[in-house]
């Protein structure tokens, strides 16, 4: 009897210590992320209402001046639409291709290890280097030369110097890069579905497609949504693909909000206008966060 009480006492003390430990362990991370993510975000909002420039970075309040500058900028509206379109198309293509790839990578076949390593290349390679390689492949020494040899391309300028093809190339490189990540996430979702569910559906006479759309898709929907959110978050935040592949051109036709913020805020030296432009990424971030919270909450409700 007394032994139990002593153990209960120990446990109480242990929990007390746990409370302290939990704080002590979490505090450095919380302080670090607050100082270098939360505070800089607040500073960005402040910069969006300032007259700060690269040469005179000290803070001077300027009201809505920066937003007037941004709204009067044709390239801004173009970048905003491009960012939305790029993100939307990338989500759809990456989720569809990533799901297909996940099913294949789960199957057993020879050279599985080699194929898996090759499939990881797009995601593990520094994105700017991938973009360099794509530029070389699509440019004058590669696809351009082949298209000309086949008389499919005439006149001056490689595909990356033409408005439509350049935009397609930007989307393609993003999809190419993020499909492996989506495949890995969806693979995990597929693994967590108990095998019995598919067998039961098969015994009930459901065909391949019926099993896919009736069983697999609903059960892996949460994890697919997470894959979609990660795809979106990485796509709409990316500077490297546009910057290296097309340089935003031709004639700023492939600029997106992040490259515009860099162009105005760093190269143009107008920190205020750059910050104001970048703030239009905030709704996209909030949408992604809302999806993640919904998935988590539903998973908790299921438990």
């Amino acid at each position: 009897m007394s032994g139990t009480r002593a153990r209960a006492g120990d446990r109480a003390r242990l929990t007390d210590r746990e409370g302290f430990l939990a704080w002590a362990f979490l505090l450095p991370t919380v302080v670090y992320l607050t100082a270098l993510v939360v505070a800089p975000f607040v500073l960005t909002v402040a910069f969006a209402f300032s007259r700060s420039t690269g040469d005179a970075p000290s803070y001077r309040f300027a009201g809505l001046r920066d937003f007037r500058t941004v709204f009067g900028d044709d390239v801004f509206w173009r970048s905003l639409l491009d960012t939305l379109a790029l993100t939307g198309v990338a989500i759809v293509l990456v989720v569809v291709l990533g799901t297909a790839l996940a099913h294949v990578l789960r199957a057993g076949f020879r050279f599985r290890r080699t194929v898996r390593t090759l499939v990881l290349l797009p995601w593990t390679t520094p994105v700017a280097l991938s973009a360099i390689s794509w530029r070389w492949l699509l440019g004058s020494a590669g696809v351009d030369r082949m298209l000309r040899a086949a008389s499919l391309l005439h006149g001056g300028g490689s595909p990356l110097d033409r408005t439509g093809p350049a935009a397609v190339a930007v989307v393609a490189v993003h999809v190419w890069r993020l499909t492996p990540l989506a495949a890995v996430i969806v693979m995990a979702g597929l693994n967590s579905v108990p095998h019995g569910v598919w067998d039961a559906a098969r015994l009930d006479g459901a065909g391949v497609w019926r099993r896919f759309f009736g069983v697999t898709v609903p059960l892996t929907l949460p994890v697919t949504a997470v894959a979609g959110v990660f795809t979106a978050a990485i796509t709409f935040a990316d500077v490297a693909v546009v910057r290296v592949l097309t340089g935003g051109g031709p004639h700023d036709s492939t600029q997106v909000l992040p490259t515009l913020a860099y162009l105005r805020g760093v190269e143009g030296g107008d920190i205020g206008a750059g910050a104001a432009a970048s703030l239009f990424l905030l709704p996209l971030f909030l949408a992604g966060a809302a999806v993640v919270l919904r998935v988590v909450r539903r998973a908790e409700a299921d438990r």
Binding site: L36, L121, A131, S133, P258
Partner: protein, 290 residues
């Protein structure tokens, strides 16, 4: 009569089996075809880079392959310096990230607090914050700290990207180690720290290695901050050096640069490939539990 029925049944069975075999062959062919196409598409730009890196200058012309472009990469460009910078930054970012993320992950997965789940989600959401929202302010922060144009700026800032992912993954790896083992060790007289070092650490070590490789890969690939904070050739990492410095210049260097992209791409893919199954497993457990 009976024999006929038996024969019909046997024939039907054979037919069904053949059908199943055909279907299975169809699935196998599809799997191989998709796998081959996926591998080819994923490797395409690098294969092209590799082929052209050994080509002599004139495209299309038939010449013996040459190693001059690869040699030029190491002798006439800053590529070796870019690689060293990335190795130093990546290594230090791994150290900083693990130092912050391991205790945090332990707190989230082991020390059951009422706010544990919410704290975990908040940290994960930080990963989704787009760097373009921060880079203008962070470049002021970096300048104020006197770290502008220094690789230390990247050591300071890159963990904002890698810590959230690492906390989340390490917490999942820790949850996969049964709590009973640790409690048993504590009952046996080990302190919490002793139990962690003696029982939990060996079991979670492969997960920590996986997170370290992922952290290094993310740090090596980061572009926006590196582009904003660093402008001297000597201090650039491999993610910004080649596109910023080699891109505009001598067209001959383009081929060298292509071989450089392959040199970086292959080790990172192999390193992450080693841990792929571990990531999938831990994400699977996460999908089960959370």
């Amino acid at each position: 009569m009976n024999g006929l029925a038996a024969r019909t049944a046997a024939r039907e069975m054979l037919r069904q089996r053949r059908l199943a075999a055909v279907r299975q062959a169809g699935v196998r062919v599809t799997v191989y075809a998709v796998a081959a196409v996926a591998a080819l598409v994923c490797a395409a730009p690098f294969l092209w880079s590799l082929v052209t890196a050994f080509e002599r200058g004139v495209p299309g012309a038939r010449h013996r392959p040459t190693t001059e472009h690869v040699r030029a990469l190491f002798h006439s460009t800053r590529f070796p310096a870019f690689v060293v910078n990335t190795l130093v930054v990546g290594g230090l970012v791994v150290v900083v990230t693990l130092a912050l993320a391991l205790p945090a992950a332990y707190a989230l997965s082991r020390l059951h607090r009422s706010w544990g789940t919410r704290a975990g989600i908040a940290i994960l959401l930080v990963y989704l914050v787009p760097p373009p929202l921060l880079f203008l302010s962070l470049s002021r922060v970096v300048a104020t700290l006197g770290l502008a144009d220094s690789i230390w700026s990247l050591v300071l800032i890159h963990p904002t990207v890698t810590v959230p992912v690492s906390v989340w993954l390490l917490a999942a790896f820790l949850r996969a180690v049964p709590v009973d083992l640790e409690e048993q060790a504590m009952v046996d007289g080990h302190s919490r720290f002793g139990a962690f070092v003696r029982v939990v650490a060996p079991l979670v070590l492969p997960g920590v290695a996986a997170v370290a490789v992922l952290t290094f890969t993310l740090a090596a690939g980061e572009f926006t901050y590196a582009l904003t904070f660093i402008w001297s050739d000597a201090n650039m990492p491999v993610s910004t050096g080649p596109p910023v410095r080699l891109g505009g210049g001598d067209p001959m260097l383009w081929r060298s640069m292509q071989s450089g992209a392959v040199f970086v791409a292959v080790p990172l893919a192999i390193g992450c490939g080693l841990f792929l199954d571990r990531f999938v497993t831990v994400l699977t457990d996460g999908a089960h539990r959370d």
